[in-house]
């Protein structure tokens, strides 16, 4: 029993975070917003870091890592509001294809030559897929109408929901940090607004929500990875916890920014819009609530102090 990430996992996360923080700031999002929102150079960098092949078995040219690593990187994608369809392709589609034994596209995915957009009946759209375009509030999301051939496979749904939850952690972390940085420099009534308890306590409440959502998401990733029968319950728990934390943090962050937060020139809106989008996708809050409800009140998961890791 060890609820820590391994050294290797931490090194992986750190290297990806370092890369993003050096190359993928808000100015990149602004450029994409104006110039067209996909950039082969960014995609190639993800390929070069091995991220498209993160979960692809080594025999197919990937790194052969698992869902915990994928969730960790998905959180980093959320943190920088990455627009490229890395998560859907490499962390949702790849594990699903592997589970189904469909391995023929894996090496093309690892090499970055093949992107996959899987439709699911719970989503009315496909992100980065083929079909009649739909406009998202998030200018960096490319949606297409839901195709008739969507899957209703639960494992696919769980992978999508888990990775949305992980991205939402990163988004929430980033929004909280943006709000904190703004609160340090914005002065009103003779002091930084972040020195007022009225602001401090709201931001502290966000920190509580985000920090206690994190272990729920990691636990869900581990449960999926380990193939626990109860994994769907943990995924739903994770999706709700991460969604609630992100919604709260988005509302608080714009409030702390004041009128500036309502402008397009402040970066926050990219992160808020992505959060709203991911909260709804791959099973919305009500959907995941119902699964949790069925588990807890319906008795499909054992509860009580001795069942922490049921």
């Amino acid at each position: 029993m060890d609820f820590r990430f391994s050294e290797d996992q931490l090194v992986l996360v750190e290297s990806v975070r370092d890369y993003f923080s050096g190359t993928h700031g808000p100015e990149v999002l602004r450029r994409l917003d104006v110039d067209g929102n996909r950039d082969p150079a960014i995609w190639q960098a993800l390929v070069d870091m091995g991220l498209t092949g993160l979960c692809v078995p080594e025999a197919h040219g990937g790194l052969g890592m698992g869902l915990v690593e994928a969730a960790l990187i998905a959180a980093e994608c959320g943190r920088v509001c990455l627009a490229e369809p890395l998560v859907d392709t490499a962390f949702v589609a790849v594990p699903w294809l592997i589970a189904k034994g469909e391995t023929d596209k894996l090496s093309a995915i690892a090499s970055g030559d093949h992107k996959v957009a899987l439709p699911h009946v719970l989503n009315p759209w496909v992100a980065d897929g083929e079909g009649k375009p739909q406009t998202s509030v998030d200018p960096l999301r490319n949606l297409a109408m839901f195709p008739a051939s969507g899957s209703n496979d639960d494992r696919l749904l769980n992978l999508g929901a888990l990775m949305n939850a992980a991205q939402l952690l990163g988004l929430a972390d980033a929004m909280l940090e943006q709000a904190v940085e703004y609160a340090k420099i914005r002065t009103q009534f003779g002091q930084p607004v972040g020195a007022f308890q009225g602001i401090k306590h709201q931001l502290a409440s966000c920190a509580v929500a985000v920090e206690f959502a994190k272990p729920v998401v990691w636990r869900a990733a581990a449960a999926m990875q380990d193939g626990l029968e109860t994994a769907p319950v943990h995924v739903s728990h994770a999706k709700i916890a991460a969604s609630d934390a992100a919604m709260l943090t988005a509302e608080t962050a714009i409030q702390v920014h004041g009128a500036m937060g309502y402008t397009y020139e402040v970066d926050l809106h990219f992160w808020m819009k992505r959060s709203w989008a991911l909260v709804g996708g791959w099973g919305d809050r009500s959907y995941h609530y119902k699964r949790l409800d069925a588990a807890v009140l319906g008795g499909s998961i054992p509860i009580g102090p001795e069942h922490t890791f049921a």
Binding site: F196, I199, Y262, W276, G281
Partner: protein, 387 residues
């Protein structure tokens, strides 16, 4: 306590209803935050004025109907029942109009009120500055007296309607040595005066109805000053009082939203979570509570009472209710919430409404400032300490 409408009030309601049913545009207008939509909304202001429904609470001599506050509430209920558009003239009706009536000279009333009532002149407000948001006393844009003109230099920001409006109003520092609340003057200005540059502010939703205003030695006649030099703070406080007070957000707006939310819920009932269900029912309750409270305050004012710091309670309540109703709708919409238009082509008004609702707890004095006002002025807690 007598909670029944008189036959006259019922008759008035029927009259408003008939007119609204005949005139409210069948299709929703384009958002007022872009030029096309602004023009559509100004057109609607003129339609309203043609029926004499533009400024219903104003005295008849200035183009109003002289309605009392209960009639105004009935009017608003019917306006929102019919799905009437947002008001391009909001700043004029509820902020500047009452301010001019209270502080203006006869000449100013004549010059400004009637064109406002007719929808001929649309007004922008210009309160905030980059360094003075919730802390309005930190204003630094200055107006220097030069003969029979003020020469204005400085910058305003976050001016609603300013991208497309005709005139603006705001406060400026006329005494260069003054600090904080002193030495400020309330000035009205034509937005097309030489020296004024408007830079539209692109908002979160992408539209640009708000603007920054840059003043470079802008000459404004002294007769455009309201209530005398140095009186700016008092006038602005009165104006802000109107804004936060009774008339900024009439209950009908939230009751209409609650009703739409109930309809949305019914369409999603099978899959909705219990908390969403209870939030919908509570939304009706809260919108009703806001309506009752507004009727109570209106009754009080009609009986000669005044509204003071209680206005801050209102502002907190409606802004947080509005955000919460729209958040509930976003959660009910689920994966559809992010779509700007639904599959059937319809605009996702819940998304637009949620984004707009996020500004509620920020503007017209942030809710943090409002809670301080409630704590200090209504509850009597000490102002000691910066916190």
């Amino acid at each position: 306590m007598h909670l029944h409408y008189t036959p006259e009030q019922e008759k008035f309601r029927a009259e408003v209803r008939a007119w609204m049913e005949a005139h409210v545009p069948k299709e929703p207008l384009v958002t007022l935050e872009c030029k096309e939509g602004f023009d559509q909304h100004v057109e609607w202001e003129r339609t309203l004025a043609s029926g004499n429904w533009g400024m219903v609470t104003w005295p008849e001599e200035y183009g109003g109907r002289g309605l009392d506050l209960i009639q105004w509430l009935i009017f608003e209920e019917e306006y929102f029942r019919a799905g009437g558009p947002n008001r391009a003239n909001q700043n004029g009706i509820f902020l500047l109009g009452p301010t001019i009536m209270e502080f203006g000279t006869e000449d100013q009333k004549r010059r400004f009120l009637t064109p406002m009532a007719k929808g001929e002149v649309i007004w922008a407000q210009a309160w905030s500055e980059p360094g003075a948001g919730s802390d309005m006393a930190a204003i630094s844009s200055k107006a220097v007296r030069d003969g029979d003109h003020y020469v204005i230099t400085g910058q305003k920001t976050w001016s609603s309607r300013a991208a497309f409006a005709d005139w603006g109003f705001g406060i400026f520092r006329t005494d260069p040595d003054s600090k904080r609340h002193k030495g400020l003057t309330f000035i009205l200005f034509d937005l097309n005066t030489p020296g004024i540059t408007r830079r539209p502010i692109r908002q979160l939703h992408g539209e640009t109805g708000f603007a920054e205003l840059f003043f470079d030695e802008v000459r404004v006649p002294v007769e455009n000053c309201l209530a005398g030099e140095g009186e700016g703070w008092n006038v602005a406080m009165a104006t802000a009082g109107f804004e936060r007070g009774l008339m900024l957000r009439s209950p009908g707006r939230f009751q209409a939203t609650a009703k739409r939310l109930v309809e949305l819920y019914r369409a999603h009932e099978a899959e909705a979570s219990p908390s969403a269900r209870e939030a919908v029912v509570q939304a009706w309750g809260a919108a009703q509570a806001y309506a009752y409270n507004t009727y109570a305050v209106a009754s009080k004012i009609m009986g000669g009472g005044k509204i003071g710091a209680e206005a801050s309670l209102n502002k907190i309540f409606w802004s947080e209710l509005d955000r919460s109703m729209h958040r509930t709708a976003m959660l009910l919409l689920g994966a559809h919430a992010e779509l700007k238009r639904f599959g059937n082509g319809q605009i996702n008004q819940w998304l637009e409404g949620y984004i707009f609702s996020l500004s509620g707890p920020i503007y017209a004095g942030s809710n943090e400032v409002q809670r301080n006002i409630v704590a200090e002025r209504l509850l009597g807690l000490p102002r000691v300490g910066a916190g």
